[in-house]
Amino acid sequence: MSRGRALGTLLLLLALCPSARAASVTTKEIEEALTCQCGCGLTVHSCNHLQCGSGIPLRQEVLTLVTQGLSRDEILIRFREKYGEKILSSPTTEGFNLTAWILPFVVVAAGAGLLVRTVRRWTAAERGEAASPAPVAVSESDRRRLDAELAKEPS
């Protein structure tokens, strides 16, 4: 892999990796990183079920932890330890879960590589066909015979 490609991949992973960002944490940010467990399929921030038995207490917990000054990662680790990994709205970026993040890009990159190779082959085939046929080598004896035949032709 070239240096440029390696750097590109690293930047992509850093951009995708939530823990790579260091910023002051907001309750919204944490709520969006958590999935409501009421079955709505939405994040804790988005769930608007009336008196939701899951979303409302989770929001309270988030507020408490943010108020305590914990970082995003620390808060998410606490939630993960308490409720299990399913509480997180995205797969973590470690172990087997990393495949969730990487595989789509690997597939597209592999597809792009294959496509570039295929198109190169096809364009080469086109060039090969388009080019004029290679000159045929004529032996010395053939050339003399041809000259003799041409000399016989009436002018």
Binding site: L16, P18, E32, A33, T35, G39, C40, G41, L42, T43, S46, C47, N48, L50, Q51, G84, E85, K86, I87, L88, S89, S90, P91, G95, F96, N97, A100, W101, L103, P104, F105, V107, V108, G111, A112, L115, T118, V119, W122, T123, A125, E126, E129, A130
Partner: protein
């Protein structure tokens, strides 16, 4: 004899007919016995009659509230409005399968009528394929989830339709999506027929071109309507949550979009035959996969029907479809292999190939994210969630690449783009995109994703505008028509090309809507007493009063909220809380003030009657209307593409033996 017996009988007879149509068609074509081919075709037509009878019986039972039928008692009530009572046909498991079957057989009947005297070599296989699909759905309805199951007693009242489904979108979204799913079966059936018969030229593609477009049209509408429904009903301020069932509807759309582009290369250069048949097979398989997702309960979704034992049946059918189709492709590979040649990387053909790559890349991402929780549980034994943040992060860069290619495709030359051609066609659109980005930056926009997205939107819009402008100018110069007439004639002469540009314009509007509403959304939660106000963006909202309505079906608590900009009243909003009495379920009805610039989206949250305090959740969603408008523009463009030009109508009239489509050269 109870009406339900007639329905059951019709389905059982239909099952026999589907089996016979499949067998007779295959035997007829393989043994060269034309009478069996005709008989199979007539059986397929009769099958539609049986399914129509079954649907009529079910509709009659629904509208007469015949609660002796388990289905009617489960999905309607005496107080349910008639429109939703009819829509209950597709509101439950058995009814939705019956509806699917009815649409499939309606399509099959149209295909049989259209091709009565055409494609004699293909049609027996088409009949067999469509009848096999019908046979699968009929088997479910006859043996697994009987649609006309009767109760031992007649309850005085039904359980009612799920309140979330009691919305006008229920009458529009599922039929559109089902029509999209079902019509994929037609190109799939022709593809199988081409593989089985060995007639692998462009015939099957040309014959099904309008079906492919029709399917794409309905899938587009189905997805957009689904988003609009979620936006108006679920009350979380968004329209797309990457729910597994939303994903299931999105994936066939992506694959069909790829097919619509790559098929142009086959028509023009007789290439990519293996690729194109593979895309159609994949699109059909994904429609079955989507049906499996909604009905298996294997992946949790807000859209799921009640969990049932149908999952394994769909999985087996899906496996059979894939194995059968792959075997056919493998068998025909020597004929399918074509002399693939491209003149240059810088060509429309290459741009379409990259467009296919990105579309399938997004499709894979959506599939992977949807099934990853199951894979994770299988591999690690740990349940995890793959929610919107994952899909948004991974798909955003791919989506922007796709948007860029949307602009490149139409203006790069076929075969080989020369440097002069590139400069001539790309300079102005690129300048528009870059200038637009700089202006937005100067106006204070600092989000890179938004700047890139809006710049690309401008780039694509400019490519479309320039194409229309150049075409109109050329026609004016050639024929001397006024601009408006020249434009109208330009479009009328080549629906495929200019309809396609309109679709691209729709795509631009959709991207603008998504970018604006995703990246610039504001939200405020406020608890106020009557007479008190709160603010969001440039708006002040004053909570005036609560009122109540009560009828036998639903109890409604409604808030009246005055919307002000500065001191000026600009509107009134009435968000509601509803309590549907029969299922005993509360819902929220949002109130939305829509403008081209932004939606003011108001949700009535918690109520505290003793104190009179009310909590409102309020969202300011920029550019959402552009998204819906973009969907409508895409549908309009597809309608233009599907409509035959005068030249095509004349050609078809002169050549009844085969449907003709315009040559690709005509597209420029």
């Amino acid at each position: 004899m109870h009406g339900s017996d007639l329905g059951t009988l019709a389905l059982q007879l239909g099952w026999c007919l589907a089996l016979y149509a499949t067998g007779a068609s295959l035997y007829g074509v393989l043994a060269a016995r034309a009478e069996f081919v005709h008989s199979g075709r007539r059986a397929a037509l009769a099958l539609f009659g049986c399914v129509a009878v079954a649907v009529a019986v079910m509709l009659h039972a629904l509208v007469t509230r015949d609660f002796r039928l388990e289905y009617v008692a489960s999905y309607t009530s005496r107080t349910l409005p008639m429109s939703y009572t009819v829509a209950a046909l597709w509101g439950g498991m058995a009814g939705s399968l019956l509806f699917w079957l009815a649409l499939l057989n309606l399509s099959a009947t149209v295909v049989h009528v259209q091709n009565r005297d055409r494609h004699r070599a293909l049609m027996p296989y088409v009949t067999a394929t469509l009848s096999t699909i019908s046979l699968f759905f009929l088997s479910l309805l006859v043996f697994v989830v009987p649609a006309f199951e009767r109760l031992d007693f007649a309850p005085s009242e039904g359980s009612d339709l799920n309140p979330l489904l009691q919305n006008y979108w229920m009458m529009i979204h599922p039929p559109a999506l089902y029509a999209g799913y079902v019509t994929v079966s037609v190109p799939f059936a022709f593809c199988v027929a081409a593989l089985a018969s060995g007639q692998l030229g462009d015939d099957w593609i040309r014959s099904t071109r309008r079906w492919t477009l029709l399917s794409w049209f309905f899938l587009t509408l189905g997805n957009v309507f689904g988003g609009a429904w979620a936006y108006e009903v679920l009350g979380w301020g968004g329209y797309w949550a990457w729910d597994p069932v939303e994903n299931a509807a999105f994936m066939p759309w992506l694959v069909m979009t790829a097919f619509l582009h790559s098929v142009m290369i086959q028509e023009k250069k007789d290439m990519l035959k293996v690729w194109n048949v593979s895309l159609i097979i994949l699109a059909f398989a994904l429609t079955i996969f989507g049906t499996f997702l909604t009905r298996s309960g294997v992946i949790s979704s807000v859209h799921s029907f009640t969990q049932s034992g149908l999952g394994p049946f769909f999985l087996w059918f899906l496996a059979a479809v894939l194995v059968g189709a792959i075997a056919l492709v493998g068998w025909r590979l020597p004929i399918l292999r074509s002399q693939n040649q491209l003149e240059s990387f810088f060509s429309r053909e290459a741009a379409f190939l990259f467009n296919n790559l990105i579309l399938l890349g997004i499709c894979f991402t959506v599939f992977w994210g949807t099934v990853f929780p199951v894979i994770s549980e299988w591999v690690r034994g740990v349940k995890i969630t793959v929610g919107p943040p994952f899909f948004n992060k991974v798909n955003a860069p791919l989506g922007l690449c796709l948007l860029f290619l949307t602009g490149v495709g139409p203006i790069i030359a076929w075969r080989r783009a020369t440097p002069k051609n590139l400069r001539r066609n790309f300079a102005l659109p690129l300048a528009c995109g870059v200038a637009g980005g700089l202006v937005l930056f100067a106006l204070g926009m600092r989000q890179l994703a938004a700047l890139v997205s809006f710049s690309l939107c401008l780039f694509v819009a400019a490519t479309v505008a320039i194409e229309f402008y150049r075409g109109t100018r050329a026609r004016q110069a050639l024929v001397g028509e006024p601009a408006a007439t020249a434009l109208a004639h330009l479009v009328s002469k080549n629906h495929r090309r200019y309809g396609g540009y309109v679709i691209h314009l729709g795509v631009v509007l959709v991207f603008m809507g998504i970018t604006g509403s995703s990246l610039f959304k504001e939200e405020v939660q406020a608890t106020v007493a009557p007479g008190q106000s709160f603010s969001i963006g440039a708006y002040t909202l004053r909570f005036d009063r609560l009122s109540e309505d009560d009828d036998p079906h639903v109890a409604i608590t409604r808030a009246e909220v005055t919307v002000l900009r500065g001191d000026r009243v600009v509107g009134l909003l009435w968000p509601e809380k509803r309590f549907y009495k029969r299922p005993g379920q509360p819902t929220t009805e949002v109130a939305i003030r829509k403008t081209l610039r932004e939606d003011l989206y108001l949700v009535l949250g918690a109520l505290d009657p003793p104190s009179g305090l009310v909590t409102f959740q309020t969202f300011l969603n920029p550019l959402v209307t552009w998204l819906w408008f973009g969907g409508a523009v895409m549908a309009l463009g597809t309608a233009v593409v599907m409509t035959p030009t005068a030249a095509e109508r004349r050609a078809r009239a002169a050549s009844p033996a085969g449907e003709r489509s315009p040559s690709v050269a005509e597209e420029g």
